[in-house]
């Protein structure tokens, strides 16, 4: 049960922190890919098999919300789960994003166990990782 993960955040520090938290959480990872905004994320998604996306909300070029919308329009990407990792704590905002199709939400600052809980919730404890396209 190892996964291909995509981490999307315009902050290099946050991308490193997310990768570190995923490593510390015990989740088995096959590959971790990175992107600094939604545009780069789509490039990765269209060239790599990704099992789950962790994405920030407020990014230049393309926000996390816009990324979710773009993925929903794409027949190949619509089924890839997106988890938002954001500093916004507003429940109204979380509810709005849930309606738009995000699978879960992790608030910053986060802990490794947040990622384990979410991966189990979103991908299930018994799902296999995907195959390369």
């Amino acid at each position: 049960m190892s996964y291909n993960v995509l981490v999307v955040d315009d902050s290099a520090i946050i991308r490193t922190m997310v990768k570190r938290s995923i490593a510390m959480s015990g989740i088995e990872v096959r590959e971790i890919h990175e992107a600094s905004n939604g545009v780069e994320a789509l490039q990765v998604l269209n060239s790599q098999w990704i099992d789950i996306v962790f994405a920030d909300l407020n990014m230049p070029e393309m926000t996390g919300s816009e990324l979710v919308a773009k993925m929903a329009e794409d027949g190949m990407l619509v089924s890839v789960p997106v988890v938002i990792v954001s500093s916004e704590h507003s429940q109204a905002r979380i509810d709005e994003l849930t309606e738009r199709g995000i699978r879960a939400y992790i608030k910053k600052p986060f802990r490794p166990e947040n990622f384990r809980e979410v991966v189990t919730q979103v991908l299930g404890p018994g799902k296999e990782g995907g195959n390369a396209r």
Binding site: D10, S11, A12, I13, I14, T16, M17, R20, N58, M59, P60, S86, S87, E88, H89, S90, Q91, A92, R93, E96, K107, K108, P109
Partner: protein, 160 residues
Amino acid sequence: MPAETHAEALEKVLTRILEDAAFVFAESTPQPPRFEGAVLVARLSYAGPETGEMQIGINPAFAGMLAANLLGTEPGDPLAQNRGFDAVGELLNMVGGMLVPEMFGPAAACRLGVPKVAEVSREEYESRLAGMSCRVSLIEESGQRIDACLFSDACKGMNS
């Protein structure tokens, strides 16, 4: 929400984020020491029940330590090198995200911008402070000063 409550919320959130995310322990002070040299300033706009801008000011060397703490490494680690701007921006991002529901309630809809970080002279920083609506100054254990401020029409004319 009155200015005093904004300042209380700002102090509470900044203190908590510094501890939880960066393992920095700091207390409020009414008499902060002067910044020596340049100041690293991060700014973040917000728009909701009120509209305004949040700002954090710290010294560049401390920003480097902040980056190392966020990454869970030592200040000399190459991973943390040249990450001070990023660290201050992310600190403000986290403060902003937690501050909004503190100020406006969990159900309030409020959008945050993208943090902008710049290094300014002490003189320019001090002149900016004069126009602030609310301000909190913290001192962390090694004596470093950390400022957090709000521009908001709601607390215009009142200082913490």
